[in-house]
């Protein structure tokens, strides 16, 4: 609600803004009040009514402090903070890699030890088998010879005993005729009277031959 007059005065152009207070409307006073209030809000700083982000009077200060602060930040980051974090990470990576290599080495060593243990075990087992086999054969041979010896001994003893028995039997059989003669003499003597031993013998022999 303002009339803008452009007056030509000589070589300069003057823009005159004349608020028209006489054309009063209800709407008008409200906007006037709002205008006043918003002017008061920003009147202390940069006394402009432009949108603050587009207020070019602040640009120089902002760029200056942006440059200072960002340069400081870049300096601190690139010289202090990032190398420090980087070195910590590097150290950790190296350490982990070293540990992994070491673990791998130890694992390989363990594998080797297990393998050599297993070959030793297999060797020992086969050797033990051989030894057992050998011992078994040896003891078998010893048992066989012993048995042979005992059997021989026994059969010899049996043969001896049999010979002795046969001898005794023969001897006994030899005595049978004598005993028979004597018995016959005695029996006949009892029954028929005296008979000579020679006759008895002859009779027994005759009977024996029949």
């Amino acid at each position: 609600m303002a009339r803008i007059t452009i007056a030509q005065a000589g070589d300069t152009e003057t823009v005159v803004v004349t608020p028209e207070f006489d054309s009063v409307g209800g709407d008008h006073t409200l906007s006037e009040g709002a205008l006043l209030e918003s002017t008061e809000a920003s009147v202390d700083e940069h006394h402009t009514e432009v949108f603050p982000p587009f207020d070019s009077t602040t640009f120089a200060s902002q760029i200056l402090w942006l440059a200072i602060s960002f340069a400081a930040l870049y300096f601190i980051m690139s010289r202090l903070a990032l190398p420090r974090i980087g070195s910590v990470l590097e150290e950790r990576r190296d350490r982990i890699e070293g540990d992994l290599v070491e673990a791998d080495r130890l694992r390989k060593k363990t594998d080797d030890a297990i393998a050599s243990y297993e070959t030793a075990l297999a060797e020992a087992r086969s050797r033990a088998h051989v030894i057992a086999e050998q011992a078994r054969a040896e003891s078998k041979a010893r048992i066989d010879t012993e048995r042979q010896r005992i059997e021989d001994d026994l059969s010899k003893k049996v043969a001896e005993a049999e010979g002795r028995i046969a001898g005794t039997k023969q001897k006994a059989l030899d005595h049978v005729g004598e005993i028979a003669s004597e018995t016959a003499q005695a029996v006949v003597g009892q029954l028929l009277g005296k008979v000579s031993i020679a006759d008895a013998r002859k009779a027994v022999a005759t009977v024996g031959k029949e």
């Binding site: 209030e37 918003s38 809000a41 920003s42 202390d44 700083e45 940069h46 949108f51 603050p52 982000p53 587009f54 207020d55 009077t57 602040t58 640009f59 120089a60 200060s61 902002q62 760029i63 200056l64 402090w65 942006l66 440059a67 602060s69 960002f70 400081a72 930040l73 870049y74 601190i76 980051m77 690139s78 202090l80 903070a81 990032l82 420090r84 974090i85 980087g86 070195s87 910590v88 990470l89 150290e91 950790r92 350490r95």
Partner: protein, 257 residues
């Protein structure tokens, strides 16, 4: 005007350093001052530096949770740079890391009530993106010489298309600082205005009596939701800025697509 959503972006001088130019009269020339924006830039730098340096003070092989958080941030940005710009790009790692942390912590400071969000000022984000572009152009020419211009002539394109493609590439290159800065600026500005408007509703409606208090429940929930969203946007925008920086640096390192 407690509810003025624009008021939060107003720059206040804390102390004045001097005036450049002008004719000596009051109001002329450019005033150089330490402003609330500068205060939060300095606070951001201090916070980042103190945090990173204190948390890694022990340099322990087995990190505590503070050190771990710093290491994770480091690894996060390092992986991002490595995947976008390759191993050669790692020489710009401190630069990208500084940018990421500066924007990230700056955005996060903005989420604290009464704190100033310097990333909501176009001049700050524009200066940062111009810094990125300057680094890209200077390094690109230093490393590749005139071959850096191959950036604008994609390989494998038929000759008759080059007159069409090259202007497009040039325009896209020139619009990079604008898109980079406006993206961050716009997100932060819009987010903070939305937040302020919704939470402003809570206060205005709440002052209207019982029905108003009932009605203010909805904007209150919106305010909570938008706060969560803004935290996400703050993180994502810092990440996007850093990723794009790394990709633009990749162009400087390997200009032929």
């Amino acid at each position: 005007m407690a509810n003025d959503p624009i008021h939060q972006f107003v720059i206040n001088d804390i102390f004045t350093l001097g005036t450049i130019g002008g004719d000596g009269t009051a109001g002329s020339g450019t005033t150089i001052a330490f402003t609330n924006s500068a205060l939060f830039m300095v606070l951001t730098v201090i916070t980042i530096s103190v945090y990173l340096l204190l948390s890694t003070r022990g340099r322990s092989l087995i990190p505590n949770r503070w050190q771990l958080s710093s290491e994770m941030t480091y690894e996060f940005v390092a992986n991002m740079v490595r995947s976008s710009a390759g191993t050669e790009g790692m020489k710009f790692f401190p630069f990208v890391f500084s940018l990421f942390m500066f924007i990230f912590i700056g955005n996060m400071f903005g989420m604290v009530p009464y704190f100033f969000t310097f990333t909501s000022h176009i001049i700050v984000t524009f200066a940062l993106s111009m810094l990125v572009m300057t680094v890209v152009v200077v390094y690109g020419f230093l490393k590749n010489g005139p071959r850096f211009l191959k950036l604008f002539v994609p390989s494998g394109v038929p000759g008759y298309i080059i007159p069409i493609v090259t202007p497009i590439e040039v325009i896209s290159f020139l619009s990079r600082p604008i898109s980079l800065s406006v993206r961050l600026f716009g997100n932060m500005l819009a987010g903070h205005i939305t937040l302020k408007v919704f939470t402003g509703f809570v206060v205005s409606l709440g002052s209207l009596g019982a029905l108003g208090i009932l009605g203010s429940v909805l904007p209150l929930f919106m305010g909570v939701a938008i706060t969560a969203l803004e935290f996400m946007v703050s993180t994502v925008q810092a990440y996007v800025f850093a990723v794009l920086t790394a990709m633009y640096l990749n162009d400087a390192i390997h200009p032929s697509h």
